[in-house]
Amino acid sequence: MKSIETNILEEEDSQTKTSLIKQRTTTQKFISNSFLRLVVTKLIFYFIIFFIAISLAFLIPRLVPGNPLDYINQLGSTGLPPSYQEQIRTYMEQLFGLDQPIWVQYWRFLEAFFLHGDFGLSIDLDTPGQPVMDLILPTLPYTLMVAIPTLIITFFLGNLIGAWVGYNETKPRKVIYYIVLTMGAAPFYWFAYVLATIFITQLQLFPPLSTSVPNFAWDWAVLEQIFSHFWLPLILLIMVNTGGWSTGARSMMIYERGSGYILYSQKLGFKESKLRKYAYRNSLLPQFTGLNMNFNNIIGQTLILEVVLNWPGLGKVMIDAFSINDYAMIIGTFVIVIFIIVIGNFLIDISYGLLDPRIRIGGQEG
């Protein structure tokens, strides 16, 4: 009796020591060369994309009617007081060097963004002469607080439903699956009106669309008000985006369910629940590659929904700027959206690298 116990104690001791050493080696492996290489290549790749996008943002307005000079010349017809007009004109000419050759303008444009984070002044009648960045940045949290939870929730919910259907295709499961798919087929902007009619006009669960969302403050009453507006866009985006994941997850699950390691684990006497866990995890992994595109989609959908549901995010500022031809604002919102998307994609790629050992440690591709 006693000997066994001391034995165990000794073993514990040696085991903790070896485990410490092991932990260190695993962390070393974790940030292995190939992982760093992944980070660096992705960083370069996304920087190129961002660079292309920002160059397009510079180039396109100069190719189509609606270039910054037009915009400066149109200032008179905006109805702004002359003092503001003058201020905006001089500021913009100075910032972008509009009287200089085009490559200098291009250089100034890059400089304006990368060094100063400045895109000029707004001509909106409510906020004339304010730097557009000051107007755009406060709207960012509103967009992200809808988009990011949607991305995470739909990913897990959609895959769960798809895998659940794919693992055992019974009638009731299929019915739920097709309901989810049909909801995903609805055009979301129109669906937003339908949902708003149901939840706001009929059930009166949420405040009407005409009431505006207060600015953010660390105050319980304000937060409550913000959140009362928050649920509708979130629910809507979740309903619309779940279906896409389910289709993929279902076919992945059907594939994994019949793959060799599941059949072999079954022959080793694994319990059903463990097999399901294996299949679910492995069918989830390839789905991660779809996160990039889905993130782009969700951001785009959020931008449109914000207008429809009167949610004070980036999209609302953006569309407002479109309607009054606020050049600085259009460029600013566009670049910020690109920036969010690029950062998001980068993070998604990196986390995928962390999850899949085949990418993390290298070796065979695929």
């Binding site: 085991q15 019949g258 390691y261 684990s265």
Partner: protein
Amino acid sequence: MAELVLKVEDIKGYYKGSFGTVHAVDGVTFDIYKGDILAIAGESGCGKSSLAELLTGSPMPMLHYESGQVTVNEIPIYIPKPEDKSKLGKWRKEQEKLSNQTRKDVLCKIIGYVPQSSQDSLNPVKKIRKFILDVMKQRVGTKPKKQIKRSKEDIKYDTLDGQKVRINFKEEVLTRVREHLEKLGLSGDVLGRYPHELSGGMKQRIVIGISTLWNPLILIADEPTSALDVTTQKILIETFMHLREMGIVETIVYISHDIPTLAQICNKCIVMYAGKLVEFNSMDNIIHSPLHPYSQGLIHSIASFNPDGSAETDLNSIPGRPPNLRDPPEGCRFYDRCNQRMDICKEEYPPFFSPNGNDSSRVACWLYKK
């Protein structure tokens, strides 16, 4: 007489799906005694692998048990299907219960199984070590841990590789596993690798290692060499031959369409054709004096050479195709391709005859009717 370890009685298993019902295994009966190395031979699609799946008690999803019985070490693993259709639901529940019990008691400990597609038989996102620990957890119920509470009840014992092991202790289990894999010619550090970092032969040996961890009574190997190159095949075949010498497994069922491989390893042989067992004989007899016309054709279609390079016999293939197993014929299934067919063959499926007078060789062919 040696001890009977596996008794198969008229087992039937059908594939069912939107493609119809395929009679893959349609009544197969044989016994395996301790120490046998039994070959199951036959061409692709004759039901060899399906038979192996049925023997494990948990066949793959689309393969359904139909009737018959498999008794492993005196444990029956199927409940006969009731004829009354209203009782089918109850039967299904009971069978599921029994299958779960079988998984717990029989698999790994009494029957080890080496699958056909060993290349993807290991979970691709788990290290070998983690996968083995998962296997342990499934067998024991608790995961082997680094540390354990110091109460006596927590310690569980199991026999791994013929030795008693405290199975809750991670290090102890892993040491035993490492030794076991070393016996199969693998170095211990494969445990820390992912499957994609290993070669095909290594993966296959790891699968054999995992399947034989508990030193099962019977090892069922389903075409373990089919996806490997010739050199690796040779190493594997040697591994199989050594399994017995090392006292890991005594009884092996080896399934292959490759008769020369079978001839090297096995001492008894079953020949299957279109879901039916056509001949049961010793390996030597199958090679040198096959009884059934199909076995004869099978042997004649193997190229064999004299040391000087000249062909030993003429190479003959069997003309025709096997029957469609969705709707198998009434009579002998080899009738259409047989060169010695008789009228009776078309009407009635032959029972087993023992032309040698004893039970060691049996053949299902009307030619041997006395």
